[in-house]
Amino acid sequence: MKKILLSLITVISIGYSARLWFVCQKFIDQFYFSSLDLQLRMVEAIHTDSQTPLFFVRFFHNKLTGSLIDVFRSYVLYYDVRFLLSLVGFTGFICALAGVYYLLVERKHKLLYVFLMLFFVFPFLSIFFRSIIPYQVWLIGFSLIVCVLSIYGIYRLKWNTWLLSVFVLSLLVTIWYQSMYTPLVLRFCML
């Protein structure tokens, strides 16, 4: 019963945090792969390398390397602590971390691995297919994955007074963070 209640509170807190995101139109550009940006950067880099042997210029500044670097940058942005906190709040974040941890360490509940896999693969889809599927779908999808992971975290954690205190504190901080610090959302999305 306690875990159901905690899960419910967590889901509500995630919803409370995610609501701010619906005023946005899309994530900021860094969340997506842009071949135009890449091309411009390549031109600039090659221009700077005007006196370098051509082999090295091509070896270091080519579309494959550039794309990998850009995709990596976008990918890690989806796991930015502040991005996740502003998306799912402190409570959701902490519980989801616990969920990921238990899934990785205990290797039980094979079905939940689908969510873990989605958690790691989802950003790739969003990075490349932003124009096909609307932003809101990505937002809801990602929040739901984190939601499931956090509920799993709640079920796996061995709750004691200390953990409950952390939970309550994280709830308070979530309310504080989300109500007082709205502009943070604007760091990651465009109105």
């Binding site: 390398d49 502040r82 360490v105």
Partner: protein, 521 residues
């Protein structure tokens, strides 16, 4: 892999191979920190020049630039600099003279020394572990620290933070040695060196205090007679007294006022400050754990890293996460406690200031992250050691990606950095000073336009015998110098007719920007 471990077990060969490998790592660390260090980063930046001038003045006259005899705080550009680095540069100047290398030498040496120190610390942290594979952790940590762009870059510039970090590591090492050998001299060394970090770099005013609290807490728990650690702790406090007094003075708080993230809100009512300031701190603090900051773009200060490159190698990302999981899973022992302590406390000082994140103020963070990544590397191999092919593939892939990243960074550092970030490192001030010095003998006077910016410290460093006058833009040649040639140095104002122009000084950037024009009037 198992056979390899068992062959090495209980063998004297192990220590010899370990020593050999550590030696190799130190050689690599030295090469990465020394190669072309006088010219890369491209020129001394303003703080380095200020340090150099003060150090030289101390060496020659026993006073700082302002004539204060052997000061504890050095006044410089609206703040006070900590003394340790300046006195160390002074020492280096006795051998190397007034050179760029002398200004950077303490940082280089500290950067190199940090590698074996980390090796020593991690060795002491894992001494009770029963996992054979973890015996490679000290070497792996040392290796990663030796090649980490974050640490390499700051070791190559005249940054006090690198020396402070090395001292901090030394203090930790001495404290751990005390924990193992129970010899009181290690405790004395540990506290004394910890106090010294405070006099080396501002951030350690917070880090050192937090560390001392942990030291004392540990000692209180483990020591039967409390008075045995009373004296080292008291000595630590006495050593901190001057800085405590200085910190509450107006001069001491000046720097904090300038960079404090809270100063932005000082005009807000108190009740608003009460809920905004903690949130602002939390927000700043969390920025230090952003993967984008650590692996992709850094703090975007051109002086702190190569643009477009993170503070750590991208390939370390996955291993760092594995390391974190391993650390939490085996949450017993000193390795866990010390790494988590460093992870939590390292960004504290940086989070109090703006801009945030700040790679220099949070340099200590490189230590727990390196330990975690090393743990992750070994953990990954432990996970797949049963599958030989997979192990070989992982080693091959990781090595290839790491090698590419190292070469990519080296290419950007040697080919791009000097062109793109030349203004972050003093621009053309050195060349201007040297050119002015060369031309001074053939001119009756040297006049410099006020808009040349912070040229004066550079002139003091590179052309100490040059006498010059700083003048306004509207300056005209004085009548008493009529008929005599004078040198007038000014920025490029894009004049169409540059009559009397002797030469122009160009920056090595792609646009061939003119940094200074030299006129003979």
């Amino acid at each position: 892999m198992n056979t390899f471990f068992s062959t090495l077990k209980d063998s004297r060969l192990v220590s010899q191979i370990t020593l050999l490998l550590l030696g190799g790592i130190i050689v690599l660390a030295t090469f990465l920190r020394v190669y072309q260090v006088s010219t890369l980063p491209p020129g001394l930046y303003i703080d380095e020049v200020s340090i150099g001038n003060n150090a030289f003045s101390i060496l020659k006259h026993g006073t700082d630039e302002h004539g204060v005899s052997y000061p504890l705080w050095f006044k410089a550009f609206g703040e006070y600099k900590m003394p340790v680095y300046i006195y160390l540069v002074s020492l280096c100047m006795t051998i190397l003279g007034k050179t760029e290398l002398a200004v950077r030498m303490p940082s280089i040496l500290a950067g190199i020394l940090s590698v074996p120190l980390l090796y020593g610390i991690v060795s002491l942290l894992i001494r009770k572990t029963k996992q054979r594979e973890l015996s490679f952790l000290p070497l792996m940590s040392a290796f990663l620290l030796a090649i980490t762009p974050w640490h390499v870059h700051f070791s190559r510039g005249g940054f006090e933070a690198t020396v402070a970090l090395a001292l901090y590591l030394f203090s930790l090492y001495a404290f751990l040695r005390y924990g193992r050998d129970k010899k009181i001299r290690y405790l004395w060394i540990s506290f004394a060196v910890l106090a010294l970090t405070v006099y080396t770099y501002n951030s350690y005013r917070i880090t050192a205090v937090l560390t001392s609290i942990v030291y004392l807490g540990y000692l209180w728990r483990v020591m039967k007679t409390k008075k045995s650690f009373f004296f080292p702790a008291a000595a630590f406090l006495i050593m901190l007294l001057p800085i405590l007094i200085f910190s509450v003075s107006s001069a001491g708080t000046e720097r904090f006022q300038q960079v404090s993230s809270f100063s932005t809100y000082k005009n807000l009512p108190l009740e608003k400050q009460l809920y905004i300031l903690p949130m602002d701190f939390l927000n700043n603090y969390l920025r230090y754990f952003s993967f984008e900051y650590l692996f992709a773009v850094g703090d975007q200060n051109g002086r702190h890293q190569i643009p477009g490159v993170g503070l750590l190698y991208r390939v370390e990302f996955i291993f760092m996460l594995i390391g974190l999981v391993m650390l939490i899973r085996d949450k017993k022992g000193l390795l866990f406690y010390l790494t988590v302590f460093l992870l939590i406390t390292a960004p504290f000082a940086g989070a109090l200031a703006i801009p945030s994140p700040h790679a220099l103020r949070s340099l200590t963070l490189v230590i727990p992250l390196t330990i975690m990544t090393s743990l992750g590397v070994l953990g990954a191999f432990m996970l797949i050691k049963k599958y030989r092919l997979l192990t070989v593939l992982l080693i091959l892939m990781t090595s290839l990606v790491l090698l590419f990243e190292m070469n990519y960074d080296a290419h950007l550092y040697t080919e791009h950095y000097a062109k793109v970030n030349v203004l972050d490192w003093g621009g053309g001030y050195k060349a201007t000073a040297l050119e002015a010095d060369r031309l001074r003998t053939s001119h009756a006077g040297v006049f410099i336009d006020r808009n040349m910016g912070q040229i004066e410290p550079y002139l003091a460093f590179y052309a100490p015998h040059l006498s010059y006058t700083i003048v306004d833009v509207s300056w005209n040649k004085p009548k008493e110098l009529e008929g005599k040639p004078v040198l007038f140095i000014r920025p490029d104002y894009h004049d169409l007719h540059k009559e009397h122009l002797l030469n122009s000084l160009y920056l090595p950037d792609q646009n061939k920007t003119i940094f200074a024009d030299f006129y003979q009037l």
